[in-house]
């Protein structure tokens, strides 16, 4: 299992193709926070994203923040939510907006594998609940759009040494979640026989 550092947004698709399920990744540059209501607005309500998402790294988050007098936001505690609820947005995010990486916790079900392979996307697993650490790796909240959806706005964060992340689903059709579930279902049969 290799270790990589990737800077987002990316322009070279090879940056994604070199990643393999199980690899460890540290991220630099800019990432975009997004959540259920943000994606419902974009895709179900048909409102175009006001932020450029091409080559982007999306983080499933609804951060805890403090609003300052100058209108900007200061981080309080920023962590990551469960991804599986938002799996159906994977394909349109890649096809319509050119998103290259989606990061969350708990993984995506198998329906994400084919679009990620076709569109050259990757799913990064973060450690859910490890928000104190994650907050120190977010240097600044640079931009917030759709504030009326607080805290499920579009957030632009500048990050430094964001991770460690694990490649959960790669762009070559491999998914750790699929492999773990397949093995666990076989194991369950063996355990049931012992009960």
């Amino acid at each position: 299992m290799a270790e990589h550092t990737v800077t987002f947004p990316i322009t070279d698709p090879q940056e994604i193709l070199k990643l393999r399920a199980g690899d460890e990744v540290t991220v630099q540059g800019h990432i975009i926070g997004i959540r259920d209501r943000t994606q419902i607005r974009i895709f179900d309500e048909g409102v175009e994203s006001p932020m450029d998402l091409s080559g982007a790294f999306l983080l499933h988050t609804a951060p805890g923040v403090r609003k300052l007098d100058n209108g900007r936001y200061e981080k309080v505690c920023i962590g990551t939510t469960t991804s599986a609820r938002m799996v159906r947005f994977t394909e349109p995010l890649g096809r319509q907006y050119g998103v290259r990486a989606i990061c969350g916790k708990g993984g995506f079900p198998d329906e994400a594998i084919a679009p990620m392979q076709e569109l050259g996307m990757v799913y990064f697993a973060i450690v859910g609940g490890a928000a104190a650490l994650e907050t120190t790796q977010i240097e600044e909240i640079e931009e917030v759009m759709w504030e009326e959806l607080m805290p499920e706005c579009l957030w632009k964060f500048r990050v430094k040494d964001f991770g460690p992340l694990t490649v959960g689903i790669d762009a070559h059709g491999n998914s750790l979640y699929h492999d773990v579930q397949t093995a666990a279902q076989l194991k369950l049969k063996e355990l049931y026989a012992r009960l």
Binding site: G79, G106, A125, V127, G128, G129, E134, A184, K187, L188
Partner: protein, 299 residues
């Protein structure tokens, strides 16, 4: 009871609730820290070790930065034991818990998660209609009050399961349902955590008991030896599933399995599963009849 004493007591309980909510979110209990450290020693997979090392680092950073362990401030759930002679009525205890939760949310500030279940509009500072949630127990011949705050994150709460097994399914049916639930949940509830199981009673009460089970100190055992034996057995079986830390595969799938039970109807065999994530936040206080607060007493 004089009004002055009741008002002071209500303020004391409100202060306690405000303190417990923030404290529990920042400083996880020692028994949980020990369980996470043991898991880190036991895990052999590369991804599992990566996850458990990150958790270890995160808990230390929460300590040094005085930040929240996890961003999900949850739904505030309180487990309350009220003595028969405690001089404040539960109606006022509830008010104090609600007001303390709201005050902590505004003053810190904490992320506010509470929404109307249909409109999804925010209902206030982690309070709302029937929020926070309180589990009540009444104790005879006692004049004290114990309050335990358990902020419950949604990632793990979404992984709650109920099955009305039939009597012929027996204990085997209970074990199978718990196993299939935890395997099905995969990485979503932030494993390795505490699997709470409620058995017996009615459908609603089994789930209530499952929630009680996750609020216990990690690794405690049910007083009934038969139930305790089932806790041991399920704990072992769950860790054979290979789901591993954050569902990426590995040896440690759960930190513990706790079971609470109630007697039931001869034709019922309910089993409920409620999951508590690795950040199993929990903080307690004892309040005496004069309103003195003792934050060191675990229950």
């Amino acid at each position: 009871m004089s009004t002055v004493i009741a008002t002071d007591l209500q303020h004391a309980v409100e202060d306690a609730a405000a303190h417990l909510y923030v404290w529990s979110l920042k400083d996880i209990p020692q028994d949980l820290r020990d369980a996470l450290a043991a898991a880190r020693l036991r895990e052999t997979s590369v991804t599992g070790q990566r996850v458990l090392n990150t958790i270890h680092k995160n808990v230390n950073i929460a300590d040094s930065e005085k930040n929240l362990v996890c961003q999900d401030t949850g739904i505030a759930v309180y487990t309350v034991r009220v003595g028969e002679h405690f001089p404040l009525h539960p109606v006022r205890i509830y008010e104090a818990l609600r007001d303390g939760t709201g005050r902590a949310t505004i003053e810190h500030p904490l992320r506010s998660n509470a929404v109307h279940t249909l409109t999804r509009e925010n209902t206030g500072p982690n309070i709302g209609y029937r929020l926070p949630i309180v589990h009540w127990e009444f104790i005879a011949d006692w004049d004290g009050l114990d309050v335990k705050c358990v902020p419950k994150g949604s990632g793990s709460e979404n992984m709650s399961f109920l099955k009305m097994c039939v009597p012929a399914d027996g204990v085997k049916g209970i074990k199978q349902f718990v196993l299939e639930s935890i395997v099905g949940a995969g990485g979503k509830p932030c494993p390795p955590g505490i699997v709470g199981v409620g058995i017996g009673g009615t459908a609603d009460y089994a789930m209530y008991l499952a929630k009680e089970a996750i609020t216990r100190p990690v690794g405690t055992r049910n007083a009934d030896p038969l139930v305790a034996q089932l806790e041991d057995e399920l704990y072992g079986l769950l860790n054979e599933t290979g789901i591993g830390p954050m569902g990426l595969g590995g040896d440690v799938t759960v930190l513990q399995c706790h079971i609470e039970h109630a007697d039931t109807h001869m034709t019922l065999n309910p089993v409920a599963v409620n999951y508590q994530c690795w950040a199993a936040r929990r903080a307690s206080v004892h309040v005496d009849a004069q309103g003195n607060l003792d934050y060191d007493r675990e229950f």
